[in-house]
């Protein structure tokens, strides 16, 4: 542990309110003493998803969270203090308390450009970094991407020069980056902390200089009841980590964001009264292939126009560019919603396909069995306010639609879990009335001990006369996703989990994987969505049986490596997407068999002849990403070095990001002057609707 004192350095004064900068001399303020950078020797490094107790690193003397100091890591643990204030110096910046205080940070601007064709989106993200200080810096930015994004391109742009990053084994990429940083070369490194959470590090940005990092990824779109949904997450929510969990994703006031004791991924949070100059621009080109009948964005103000017949152009309004919530675009397409579709692509690697499989019409005509519905409500501090209100409205709506022959239970959790009653009760008017009273009294406070909520919902005796549906309402702001998913896998039994993501920037990886592992479905309830509509849609869906025990007969078509390997159940209104590899021409009837209740069901799908090779070049990456996701799920439940190696192999072969691979780019043509700079975490606002006080701490 290094205990170097960090001397002060003068940042470039902000162009306007220069008066509110105050400089603190050393000795009059606390100084942050930090180990080296997160990727480099001296800083704690964890294998993604490692278990509690796998690492420890006590911090040295650290400032208290309420101190107004920030920044702050010296990369070179062994370097002597640099007292000349020149490049490489640490920086100390002090702010007087002021409302709407602007904080200069290295991330200036983010730009997202998406192109949607059929049900596949190709997305380019540009992050513009600059150095507003007088010393060199390393910028570190923790940011979200869709968890099913296949990130396959990484460019570092310095002025007119564009340098393509290469995919490497993660440890190797980190070592290259650290050495380049140490020697003074401009370098960038992209690592994955969770499937939906990434860290961008850019080393040796010189004072006044700018550079860009450009990422490209692909993903498939979600579809439900005639609507496609495109989501671009903008901010990482403040996540709770249960005691003992070390591989965490933890929020921290920006003043102490560089502290990394036992917490490899810190999300630096702006105080409530602070803002940054960081803004976002966003454009979506939509070519659905069929008529778009309706286009809705409730999360943001957008402009939209028909660029050409069948082609829409959507952009974020210039007045709505604060990146503090997910961008959610939904569009309804014309045509037969029950028609399955197959996309194929063939290149020198062979054939790839995605199959969007819709439930058969027969399901709509069948009635459901009696249910045992368990509502599980996250009452932790991050849910305070609008999220909890929305969740309560949804549960109330759901309770009122239960039938008398159904039973229900209501469970809340935060620091602990408790229930409406000792066991599920019939959905009689009296029980519903009492449950609504109980629900209304629930408050949000404390941590998110989700494991206790999972166990409370899944471990009591099953009433075999009823299907057990567990409805989990949460923002998913936790850092121990692997532990939660493993618990679901362990305790699921015959239950089905329906997860509802509540809020503006939920942890979609967790929410969707709870439903995936729980063999259920997912729904999202944003702050501007109708809780009644979301719950009505869910209740309408479960009024009909699901198609279970799915089996596919490819009927002579030579198909291999289909993912997900465990086929999910089919629910009315919601298709599943399968991806796989093939040989030969897919010109056959694919038969899908299963059960709806006790009744056997069969549907057929005609697979057309293979399309042109250039038709869907993203498909190999989509397939590889889905394979990696399937392997990662296996690994999360049962850590196995063989699975990790399999992930590494696929990711390297297809040039994709994963937990075990990373992109690195070094500009070796020029060495910057001076030693490596100060590490500056890019602080972000807490998500819209989330309270800083109940998630990060006292500002």
């Amino acid at each position: 542990m290094n205990s170097t004192r960090i001397p002060s350095a003068t940042p470039n004064p902000p162009p306007t309110a220069a008066g509110w900068w105050t400089w603190l001399a050393l000795g009059t303020a606390a100084v942050l003493l930090l180990p080296g950078c997160r990727m480099c020797p001296g800083r704690i490094s964890h294998a993604p998803g490692s278990q509690p107790g796998s690492a420890s690193a006590p911090p040295g003397s650290l400032p208290s969270p309420d101190e107004e100091l920030w920044v702050i890591a010296r990369g070179d643990a062994g370097a002597p203090a640099d007292d000349d204030g020149g490049p490489g110096s640490g920086a100390l910046i002090a702010h007087p308390v002021a409302w709407d205080q602007e904080v200069p940070l290295p991330l200036k601007h983010t730009e997202m450009r998406a192109s949607i064709s059929a049900h596949i989106a190709t997305v380019s993200v540009i992050q513009q970094f600059s150095n507003p200080y007088e010393g060199k810096i390393e910028a570190v930015y923790v940011f979200p991407l869709p968890h099913h994004a296949a990130v396959n391109e990484f460019l570092m742009v310095i002025g007119e020069r564009r340098i393509r990053g290469l995919i490497r084994e993660r440890a190797q990429a980190e070592a290259i980056y650290c050495e380049a940083k140490r020697q003074g070369y401009v370098a960038s490194l992209l690592t994955q902390e969770r499937p939906n959470l990434f860290t961008q590090a850019v080393a040796n940005i010189e004072p006044g200089k700018e550079l860009e990092v450009r990422l490209t990824y692909f993903h498939t779109l979600a579809y439900e009841e005639g609507w496609y949904e495109f989501v671009f997450p903008m901010v990482v929510g403040p996540r709770f980590n249960p005691p003992g969990w070390t591989n965490s994703v933890a929020p921290a006031p920006r003043a102490v964001a560089a502290r990394s004791a036992g917490r490899p991924t810190q999300v630096a949070c702006l105080n409530p009264h602070e803002r940054t100059g960081h803004d976002i621009a966003l454009e979506v080109e939509l070519e659905a292939g069929v008529n778009v009948e309706e286009l809705v964005c409730r999360s943001h103000v957008i402009t939209q126009r028909v660029a050409a017949p069948g082609r829409w152009s959507i952009a974020l309004s210039p007045n709505d560019r604060i990146p503090n919530r997910d961008f959610v675009l939904r569009y309804r397409v014309a045509g037969d919603q029950l028609k399955s579709s197959l996309l194929t692509h063939r290149d020198e690697r062979g054939g790839f396909f995605t199959l969007m499989l819709y439930p058969p019409r027969e399901l709509v005509r069948l009635d459901r069995q009696p249910l045992e519905v368990v509502f599980v409500l996250d009452c932790s501090g991050s849910m305070r306010g609008r999220p909890l209100d929305q969740a309560k409205l949804a549960i109330e709506r759901g309770l009122r639609q239960l039938r008398p022959d159904d039973t229900f239970q209501l469970i809340r959790f935060s620091n602990d879990a408790s229930a409406f009653g000792p066991e599920p009760v019939p959905a009689s008017p009296e029980h519903i009335r009492r449950a609504l009273h109980y629900l209304a009294a629930l408050k949000s406070e404390g941590g998110t001990m989700m494991l206790q909520g999972i166990e409370a919902a899944l471990t009591f005796p099953h009433d075999w006369a009823r299907l057990r549906f567990v409805c989990f309402l949460t923002d998913g702001y936790i850092g121990n996703e692997a532990q939660i998913l493993a618990a679901i896998e362990q305790h699921l039994g015959a239950s089905r989990i329906f997860s509802f993501g509540i809020g503006s920037s939920v942890n979609r990886y967790l929410i969707e994987h709870m439903a995936k592992v729980g063999r259920g479905a997912v729904a999202y309830l944003g702050p501007h969505d109708s809780a009644a509509h979301v719950m009505d849609t869910f209740m309408a869906r479960i009024q009909h049986p699901t198609m279970t025990d799915l089996k596919l007969d490819w009927n002579g078509w030579r198909v291999t490596d289909v993912y997900p390997q465990r086929l999910p159940d089919l629910f009315v209104g919601r298709p599943v997407i399968l991806t796989g590899r093939f040989e030969g021409a897919p010109d056959a009837e694919i038969r899908i068999t299963g059960h709806a209740g006790a009744q056997p069901v069969q549907v057929s799908l005609h697979a057309p002849a293979v399309q042109s090779a250039a038709a869907h070049p993203a498909l190999p990456h989509v397939w590889a990403r889905m394979k990696i996701a399937d392997l990662y799920d296996q690994w999360a439940f049962r850590p196995d070095p063989g699975v990790a190696e399999a992930i590494r192999k696929v990711a390297l072969e297809y040039g994709l990001m994963s937990a075990y691979t990373a992109f690195v780019a070094v500009d070796a043509s020029r060495r910057t002057v001076g030693r490596e700079g100060t590490t500056v975490p890019v602080a972000v606002p807490v998500p819209d609707g989330v309270r800083y006080e109940t998630t990060v701490g006292s500002p």
């Binding site: 007119e160 340098i163 290259i176």
Partner: protein
């Protein structure tokens, strides 16, 4: 400590040799930049595929930069599968701008070279084509850039 490499670049038949001086710490790898040139004589270069292999030394490719003419300013694509075998297969094409002729810097490769052994590279042109898609004769060479 400021590390320094002097190179003994021997450019012959598409091979480049980078030797290391002794004032660098034993364990510290060096970073170098090498320009990749194509020579298509009087032809116009619209597309190419080339293989770069480190035949000597412990070398890691750490960045691929675009070239000089506007047609090749975007960095070429690489084959990630080949990279696993420590080979770099690059490919680029363009359709819009006027193809360059003669000797063209099509890319710059950034590499990390482990200490202790000089690095040597071989360059093998897989193909080069003009705007009509016809193959054209081409040679390629790597030239180290002075980065100090």
């Amino acid at each position: 400590m400021k590390a320094r490499l002097a190179y003994a670049a021997v450019l012959m038949s598409g091979a480049l040799l980078l030797a290391q001086e002794t004032d660098r710490p034993e364990s510290a790898p060096a970073f170098r930049s090498m320009d990749l040139y194509f020579d298509v004589a009087g032809q116009a270069l619209a597309a190419y595929q080339v293989e770069v292999v480190a035949t000597r030394g412990r070398v890691r490719f750490v960045g691929i930069e675009g070239g000089e003419p506007p047609a090749f300013r975007s960095p070429p694509f690489y084959d990630p599968k080949a990279l696993r075998g420590k080979r770099l297969i690059l490919a680029a094409y363009h359709l819009e701008t006027t193809p360059p002729t003669g000797r063209v810097r099509v890319a710059t490769l950034h590499v990390q070279i482990a200490s202790g052994e000089p690095a040597q590279f071989a360059v093998n042109v897989h193909t080069a084509a003009n705007a009509a898609g016809r193959r054209i004769p081409a040679t390629a060479a790597l030239v180290e850039r002075n980065t100090e």
